[in-house]
């Protein structure tokens, strides 16, 4: 089932929540909306669901114009950040509720609920009330209800945000496969780049009510079209600096780099950036870019170290495999493989090297 938004915008009290946006969701796929709080993820979802009416533009569902058609008439299921279940119903009744609304027979309802409960590991909990469940189980119940509805469009609005770290990890792995068989088009909103990468599928990066890029998740991550997309899709944050290209080199103020792959670039002002995990202590690449920074703080997380570096007025992060413990104030030398350098023009558009 395809969903297309054509030049859709939404303005509330003269403030634009969504600027004119066009997007065609991948039918039967996992579509991720990635962006910080207030980027417009929820607004966009509400438009897709038909809960809000767009200020302008049209929405097509399976080729049919559904702009302005109430949500009840579309086969849409939604799961929220808060755990929304019917408090007075058991888990069984909760999951069965959309089936009963469809007027299915008792036997059919029982069969389907058992089947869904099996997938979501709710089998032993069917007789409990939502208040007797843990957060993870409550959210599983909500997901089960969405699954039972057999909707052609499933909207998941940060469904894991209120769960424990480890539970999130577990559900994150299951989610994409959960809806795979139903053929539903899934839309998933999240603020976390790592989550988008794990869920895979397609990602739309959102910033201040605009989609900056939409494409296969790993393409958007590795090959962003602009600075905003690269910034949104980076955790830890993208390392960034202003650079002036002149006489065959990038002048960053605190250092200068050879142009490498970007020799065709006209002289002028640019912004250069790269991802924290691309900084290395050694490099066997001849064209590697040297970086010398002063350690501000080192954070160690299991097998990785996050080294916060001060370079002039810039603060960069190096995410490194292994445990490194440097003292604040220490100077360290690092390298960046020049293939990993992202260059943006002054308006933030990505400039791709003609060589790489």
């Amino acid at each position: 089932m395809s969903l297309e938004l054509r030049d859709v915008s939404r303005t509330v009290d003269s403030s634009a929540h969504i600027h004119p946006t066009s997007i065609t969701l991948i039918p039967g796929g996992f579509n991720i909306l990635l962006g910080p709080t207030l980027a417009g993820k929820t607004s966009l979802m509400r438009l897709m669901a038909g809960l809000d009416k767009p200020t302008s533009g049209q929405i097509f569902f399976a080729g049919e114009d559904v702009t302005g058609i109430a949500v009840q008439k579309r086969k849409v299921a939604m799961v929220y950040q808060q755990f929304v279940n019917y408090p007075s119903m058991t888990v069984f009744q909760n999951i069965a509720s959309p089936l009963r609304l469809n007027g299915e027979s008792k036997v059919a309802v029982k069969k389907r609920v058992d089947q869904i409960a099996e997938i979501l590991k709710l089998g032993p909990l069917l007789d409990r009330l939502p208040s007797e469940l843990s957060g993870g189980q409550q959210q599983r119940t909500a997901l089960a209800r969405a699954l039972a509805k057999d909707a052609s469009l499933v909207l998941l609005d940060e469904p894991l945000a209120n769960l424990d770290y480890k539970l999130r990890e577990e559900l994150r792995e299951e989610l994409p496969r959960l809806f795979e068989d139903s053929g539903a088009t899934v839309v998933y909103a999240t603020t976390e780049p790592g989550e988008a990468l794990l869920l895979s599928g397609h990602t739309a990066a959102l910033n201040e009510g605009r989609i900056t890029q939409f494409g296969p998740t790993h393409t958007v991550f590795r090959d962003p079209n602009d600075l905003l997309t690269a910034t949104i899709f980076s955790d830890p944050p993208l390392n960034l600096a202003n650079a002036r290209k002149e006489a065959g080199g990038f002048q960053l103020g605190f250092t200068s780099w050879p142009v490498g792959y970007y020799s065709d670039l006209p002289d002028g002002d640019y912004q250069v950036g790269f991802r924290p995990h691309h900084l290395q202590l050694q490099s066997n690449d001849n064209a590697a870019l040297p970086i010398t920074g002063e350690v501000l703080i080192t954070e160690i997380s299991g097998s990785e170290s996050f080294v916060h570096l001060g370079l002039g007025k810039h603060r960069w992060v190096a995410q490194m495999h292994g445990i490194y413990q440097w003292d604040p104030g220490q100077k360290i030398d690092m390298f960046l493989n020049s293939a990993h350098l992202l260059v943006f023009d002054s308006t933030g558009n990505r400039i791709r090297s003609t060589h790489g």
């Binding site: 480890k166 539970l167 895979s200 830890p236 991802r275 703080i297 299991g302 495999h321 445990i323």
Partner: protein, 360 residues
């Protein structure tokens, strides 16, 4: 600032606790040195918030004692204990400016006007709040509000310990990075004893010098972030720390070597015979499994690309096995073979590490 000792703390929310399951805290003995950065890590319901409230004095333990610098404070309320606490959601005084918010704890303690002004400005400087001092606290962003909550703890010179109860819950990922590292720098500058409660391993490991991992009311391990990663003392720690967590597979010990299924795994230690028997598990971190054409064959179920690395979800001897592979490393399309890093293998019996392994 103070050294904090928890002596045989047990706590139950019930009036007459009998069974171990009646206790939210089963038995905790910890000493935290003055000026350290500590984290209490565990899933929801593990008792970490209960323990935090016992330290702050909001709860009185059923049994045991809380000591600050060797003095028993178990009967004292939070005010008498001179602690500061930062909550999940920023607590600010709506009616006051940022300046007055920061000055509030000092004014209440009758500190002189000049001293108040000096301390507030100093703390505002540390927290990058100097430019907002005259604004109303109400209109600020969540991260700035959380900084104010923290600032109200930092202005006081008499604070024994600053406690954080999942303070980054409402903060966006990008700002989390900033706030987290600022917090750590701040700790190194001011040297307060700090205790950080969270379910998020990254927050706990990056912040703390020493992490206390809790599970169902018990402390399962106390150690440096590195200890917890390299040598989890309990399978729960192995699973809970690391993303994905440690691979655990049932195994046997024959002639001092672990055997998983039909494969004898080479190790750098000798596991004594009395470790034989049921309930043995072989543990290895996904980071410590390497691709090796001469190694054990595994069947690949799926490969997840997570950006800077990939997770191979495979099967080894019929057991699920997760393998972490770096971004630039090539994964052969068929006949994948692996090797377990010898020094990173751990053996568990009934969940607890077999500590009697002797070096060869």
């Amino acid at each position: 600032m103070a050294e904090i000792t928890l002596k045989a703390i047990r706590h139950s929310y019930q009036a007459n606790p009998i069974a171990p399951s009646d206790f939210a805290i089963r038995s905790v003995d910890i000493t935290w040195r003055d000026g350290g950065a500590y984290a209490l890590l565990g899933p929801s319901g593990c008792g970490k918030t209960t323990l935090l409230n016992i330290i702050s004095g909001l709860l009185r333990p059923t049994e045991g004692a809380v000591l600050f610098n060797g003095v028993d404070v178990t009967a004292q309320d939070p005010v008498a204990r001179d602690i500061a606490q930062i909550f999940q959601f920023p607590v600010i005084y709506d009616t006051m400016s940022v300046y007055r918010n920061l000055a509030f704890p000092l004014v209440n303690r009758g500190v002189s006007g000049e001293e108040v002004d000096r301390r507030v400005k100093e703390v505002a400087g540390m927290l990058d709040l100097s430019e907002m001092l005259n604004q109303r606290a109400v209109g600020l962003t969540a991260d700035n509000k959380q900084k104010i909550s923290l600032g109200r703890g930092l202005v006081r010179s008499d604070v024994n310990v600053i406690m954080f109860d999942e303070p980054l819950t409402v903060i966006d990922p990008h700002l989390k990075w900033k706030l987290r590292s600022e917090l750590k720098r701040l700790h190194q500058r001011v040297g307060f004893t700090m205790i950080y409660v969270t379910h998020d391993q990254t927050e706990a490991l990056t912040f703390a010098d020493e992490v206390v991992v809790m599970h169902e009311g018990d402390v399962v391990q106390v150690g440096t972030p590195r200890d917890l990663f390299d040598r989890p003392e309990h399978t729960f720690v192995g699973h809970f720390i690391g993303s994905p967590g440690m691979n655990l597979m049932p195994c046997q010990i024959v002639d001092g070597k672990p055997i998983v299924g039909h494969s004898e795994i080479p190790v750098d230690r000798f596991f004594a015979d009395h470790d034989k028997g049921n309930g043995l598990e072989f543990g290895i971190r996904p980071e410590c499994i390497h691709l090796d054409p001469a190694g054990f064959p595994v069947s690949v179920m799926r490969i997840d690309d997570v950006g800077r690395y990939r997770i191979i979800r495979a099967e080894f001897e019929g057991q699920p096995l997760q393998i972490l592979v770096k971004e630039e490393e090539l994964i052969p399309s068929e006949n994948l073979r692996i090797r377990f890093d010898r020094s990173s293998i751990q053996i568990y019996k009934d969940g607890w590490i077999v500590d009697r392994g002797v070096a060869k």
